[in-house]
Symmetry: C2
Subunit: 141 residues, 2 copies
DNA sequence: GTAATTCCTAGTGAAACACTCGGGATTAAT
DNA sequence: ATTAATCCCGAGTGTTTCACTAGGAATTAC
């Protein structure tokens, strides 16, 4: 029941971009250093986030990455879905369809997995990047 | 954010044993057939469940497996922990200690992972095998 | 033009997953 | 006593994913 480092790195990187929101793009190198993440690996993750429409890459000198919308509008769940696929403990209760389960409606565990999925989604979709920034500020007082 | 098939198979196998609780041991072969799980693979999972103290194996002809306690007393979370380790999205918020995170208290995401862990645990530890049996009965009416 | 940056493709070692295989130990029924 | 059913154990295997690394092309500020 683990997220991969992709998810963890991704959230931390997005937190950095959220902290700098409105102040121009942040270069990958800076994000990687601040969060101790391999630069090249993070590059790949940023690619996924860009293709998912969550960040914008600005090329050339003085370039970098920035959020495409305000930290208040980006949910942790969005970031995780872009990097790790559907938030769901098992494919047969994925929201985006294609369950492929033969058992389907007569499965004794389906209800359980749905409840689990919903409780995970509730947490992840009710927390935004802005919330993370606020919490960090509160902690470091 | 997926459980592996270990977890899924394990819960379904335990459900079968719960349905037969008090009626003598169920042979592995029967469980495997009823739930369409590879017999040899399930054998390995039952080994883990046995070592975790959740089931008892009875050897010889007319042998099989049975729960060591009543279905009401076995939580889905117990089964999952035996097969997949701690229920926690990331190791630094594992309940059983050893976090090894340098960032530790000044991490902007720790609070998030704790909330996620707690909401997962709440679902998984409030559902017992008896609940699964009851739900299955309700559905198949 | 040069330096800083994103962007893209490909490769790689380690680990886990989901099995398969073969055989040994134990027990109930005959 | 034999046989058949069953659990128990260890080893091996193909596939996938992870978490990187490497190298270079394209773009842009100065």
């Amino acid at each position: 029941m683990r997220i991969s480092t992709k998810g963890g790195y991704g959230i931390r990187a997005m937190y950095e971009l959220a902290m700098a929101y409105g102040q121009g793009p942040v270069p990958l190198k800076t994000v990687a250093e601040r969060q101790s993440i391999s630069e090249h690996y993070l590059e790949q993750l940023m690619g996924m986030l860009r293709r998912a429409g969550l960040v914008r890459g600005i090329r050339g000198a003085r370039g970098g990455y920035e959020l495409t919308s305000a930290p208040e509008a980006i949910r942790v769940g969005d970031v995780l879905r872009a990097l790790e696929g559907p938030i769901s403990p098992i494919s047969c209760v994925d929201h985006d369809g294609f369950s492929e389960c033969v058992r389907l409606e007569q499965c004794p565990t389906r209800g359980l997995w749905k409840r689990l999925r919903d409780s995970m989604t509730a947490v992840l979709d009710s927390t935004t990047l802005a919330d993370l920034c606020r919490e960090a500020q509160e902690d470091n007082l």
